[in-house]
């Protein structure tokens, strides 16, 4: 079970309502059953789920905001806080765990000076743990944005990070 975070109100961002309409109406035909995928598409656009988009989504689909908030906090993919430019997913699946995935996570926490789920102050990195990305044969594995880095060890971490500005 996840602890809930308050709906984020911090940064003021420009919402592109045409883009939101495109996602909600055109791509997902304003269908309530597509709620999870709509949220994913919004998150792909903004890197997180800005609060006003949820209210807008509620208005358009007729799904109560409380229910949308429930979905957005139930599923681990969604973030109600802005995230860094690069997202580091450290695999903490069983296969990676027995091959030292936890140590890689510790190393990253130390280098970046943040905890799991947090973002560096310069907004360069967000650090997240995931439970298996299906590359278990190559563990320990981390994924940064879309790139998979396999068979890594603690001493390779700094070098890998330097490739992401």
């Amino acid at each position: 079970m996840r602890e809930t975070t308050a709906l984020c109100t911090k940064p003021v961002i420009e919402l592109d309502f045409m883009e939101l309409d495109r996602i909600i109406d055109d791509e997902y035909s304003r269908d309530k059953e597509n709620l999870i995928m709509i949220l994913q598409a919004i998150q792909n656009t903004y890197n997180y789920l800005p609060k006003p988009t949820l209210a807008y989504l509620s208005e358009k689909t007729g799904v109560p905001l409380s229910q949308i908030y429930g979905v957005a906090t139930f599923y681990k993919t969604f973030s109600l806080e802005p995230r860094g430019k690069n997202i580091i997913y450290v695999c903490l699946g069983t296969a990676c765990h027995v091959r030292g995935g936890g140590k890689i996570m510790d190393r990253l926490k130390e280098i970046l000076r943040i905890d799991t789920g947090e973002t560096t102050e310069d907004m360069r990195f967000t650090l997240e743990g995931v439970r298996c990305i299906g590359c278990c044969s190559l563990g320990p594995v981390i994924k940064i944005n879309e790139d998979i880095h396999s068979r890594i060890s603690g001493d390779m971490v700094e070098n890998i990070l330097s490739k992401y500005a």
């Binding site: 597509n34 994913q40 139930f74 599923y75 027995v98 190559l138």
Partner: protein, 633 residues
């Protein structure tokens, strides 16, 4: 072109079969499933295309994963009248060399994994082996005979690594969609269901429920019926379904089509976890291609059967693999399971009769229909028929996907196929069944793997994850790991699961921190029994398994943590320290250079010293030392 008859399929199949097996040009198949890409196959592909796209004699293609992930990136090269050769570890710096090697027919040992004896799929008995008259290369083993592949029988994985998953024609060339069109034309719904029942096929998602019976019950209920594919693959350490979806998506579509026709449904859904973006992409392509050939859509093959398939993605919730939670999630809601007084075959998705099967279950279906239920039931054990795919990972030499007849022993999987434990370390346990399973020790390695055997020792076969653990794995930490996972994943509806798991986790965390007390083990057992009995869904009722099995088989490790305040495996940071063994240290300076804390000092060729006050136990020195001079105390 719309495919209407078997003759249409045969025509396509013949054309593409020639391209698959007798290419005029040199055909380079690069294994590009996520695992291959993770090992560097994308870069190899790019390099090959950049350097060789002008070469009229070479064709660069991509395929799915052929299973031997340890050796990835894997690249197979073939051409008409020549051997088919599998090259291993072909990263971008080696791809040109490998293709040159094939061009010159040199077959350097350091590059080659093996030659293929017979590339035909299990559905192509009637076809002549394309490699039959090609002389073997001296000194290079047949791929089918190397230990990793020797015992494998590929049914669900029949096309993975052999075809381009984004080309429906290649699926058809290897016997795809014949089972569906044939059953549509020649069999009644009742006959199909009878065949599946006779085959003994049981669900591959973990529960092992007989598929034929599920179909039959679903077909009996009135109203709009739905066919759903569970591609949520939540068990960490398991990637069988990902491989099928990425390497052979049409096999799943065909299985769903057959189920749709047999059960009388018009609509199917595939629920894929979002952590598998490539699988989603390839499924979308596959659906579009099947639609354009008229294999999905209205009045398929001129019949009155219409069927469509939609994809829905999950958003990171393990519990959504559970049938009722999955269906709630499909409806766009929070994925909370419900008590199953009424089964989903009666009231499931949209409150209508719904048939849910796993990816691998569906991909077995076309083979059963073409080769017959007797043939299928001829493999496996008394109550578990056919083959099963396992993901063999963790501390084992040959990691990868293996498909073997059920009943094969754990020992054969870990030692014969897997090649044993790396770095001469000692085997400790194999974890099966994911968070619902358990850890099986050495003394039970001769058990045959099927749905029933492993339950006798407190674990389950589950969906097929097999994580091998060695002496460096702490079993208390593994138990803690699974509970931590389950605490995060519990949906929070029922008390026993939500609170019980948390309490067990707190106790285990204390034990790992050196704050364990006498009586903790008994308390864990008591809590475990309560959670098993009173939880609402399968997540809770099976959650204590990893803890309870490790207590039974590795009680000494628990006791070492609680009484001696020691972690013998060197994992729980509060309970061990590293030391440099004066006898073994050669003064090579590798550890000193790698230590991020500069905690290790020592001159070249002199014994090194570790400053405990600076050490953060990151383990980098332990991994780096080639002389086993860094020891756990």
């Amino acid at each position: 072109m719309k495919i209407q008859t078997i003759a249409d399929l045969e025509r396509l199949s013949r054309d593409y079969s020639a391209k698959l097996y007798y290419p005029e040009r040199i055909k380079v198949n690069i294994g590009m499933a996520s695992c291959g890409i993770g090992a560097g196959a994308q870069a190899s592909y790019k390099r090959a295309v950049e350097n060789l796209s002008d070469d009229k004699n070479i064709e660069i293609c991509r395929t799915g994963c052929i299973g031997f992930c340890e050796e990835e990136p894997l690249v197979e090269v073939l051409s008409k009248g020549k051997p088919r050769v599998m090259y291993r570890h072909i990263t971008e710096d080696k791809i040109i060399e490998a293709i040159e090697d094939y061009k010159n027919q040199e077959f350097k040992k350091k590059l080659v994994l093996g030659q293929m004896k017979d590339p035909r799929s299990i559905l192509e008995d009637e076809l002549e082996n394309p490699q039959a008259h090609i002389p073997a290369i001296d000194g290079i083993p047949y791929l089918e005979e190397i230990p990793f592949y020797r015992q494998q029988v590929k049914v669900a994985l029949r096309n993975c690594g052999y075809i381009d998953p984004e080309q429906i024609e290649e699926y058809i060339a290897r016997g795809g969609y014949f089972a569906f069109l044939r059953s549509l034309g020649e069999m009644s719904s009742r006959e199909i269901i009878a065949t599946i029942k006779e085959s003994g096929l049981r669900g591959r998602g973990g529960g092992g429920f007989p598929t034929g019976i599920k179909w039959e019950t679903c077909a009996k209920h009135r109203g709009e019926r739905y066919i759903i594919c569970n591609a949520d693959e939540g068990d960490p350490g398991a990637y069988m379904d990902r491989s099928v979806l990425e390497g052979d998506p049409h096999s799943v579509l065909e299985g769903m089509l057959i189920a749709g026709y047999a059960i009388g449904s018009k609509e199917g859904f595939i629920y894929v976890r979002h952590e598998y973006p490539l699988a989603v992409k390839r499924l979308i392509t596959a659906i579009k291609q099947a639609e354009s050939y008229g294999l999905l859509g209205d009045n398929i093959g001129g019949s009155d059967f219409s069927f469509r398939i939609k994809i829905s993605t999950g958003a990171g919730a393990f519990v959504c693999g559970e049938s009722t939670a999955l269906m709630a999630s499909l409806e766009g809601k929070v994925g909370r399971p419900r008590a199953k007084y009424v089964h989903t075959v009666e009231k499931g998705f949209r409150n209508m009769p719904s048939n849910l099967n796993n990816v691998e279950t569906y991909s077995n279906v076309p083979v059963i229909l073409l080769k017959g239920s007797k043939w299928y039931a001829g493999m496996g054990t008394q109550r578990s028929k056919g083959t099963k795919v396992f993901s063999l990972v963790g501390k084992v030499n040959n990691t990868g996907l293996v498909e073997v007849p059920m009943g094969i022993s754990l020992r054969e999987i870990v030692y014969d196929i897997g090649g044993g434990i790396p770095k001469k370390k000692e085997f400790k346990a194999v974890q099966t069944g994911g968070p619902s399973g358990g850890c099986i020790p050495e003394r039970y390695l001769d058990l045959g793997v099927d749905f029933d055997e492993l339950t006798k020792v407190g674990s389950i076969m589950g969906s097929g994850g097999m994580i091998v653990m060695d002496q460096d794995t702490c079993m208390v930490d593994v138990a803690r790991y699974f509970l931590d996972f389950l605490k995060e994943e519990s949906c929070g509806q029922c008390n026993p699961c939500r609170e019980g798991i948390k309490q067990m986790l707190d106790i285990l965390t204390d034990i790992c921190l050196g704050k364990g007390k006498d009586g903790d083990i008994e308390l864990l057992e008591e809590l475990g029994a309560m959670i098993q009995k009173f939880s609402l869904c399968g997540l809770g009722t099976s959650a204590p398994n990893p803890v309870l099995t490790t207590i039974v088989y590795f009680r000494d490790e628990y006791e070492a943590h609680i009484r001696d305040k020691k972690c013998p495996a060197g994992v729980c940071k509060a309970l061990f320290y590293y030391e440099i063994d004066k006898e073994k240290c050669t003064g090579c300076q590798v550890c000193a250079r790698k230590c991020p804390q500069e905690a290790i000092t020592g001159e070249k060729k002199k014994i090194h010293v570790l400053d405990q006050s600076k050490c953060i136990k990151c383990g980098i020195c332990y991994e780096a030392c080639k002389f086993d001079a860094v020891v756990v105390k």
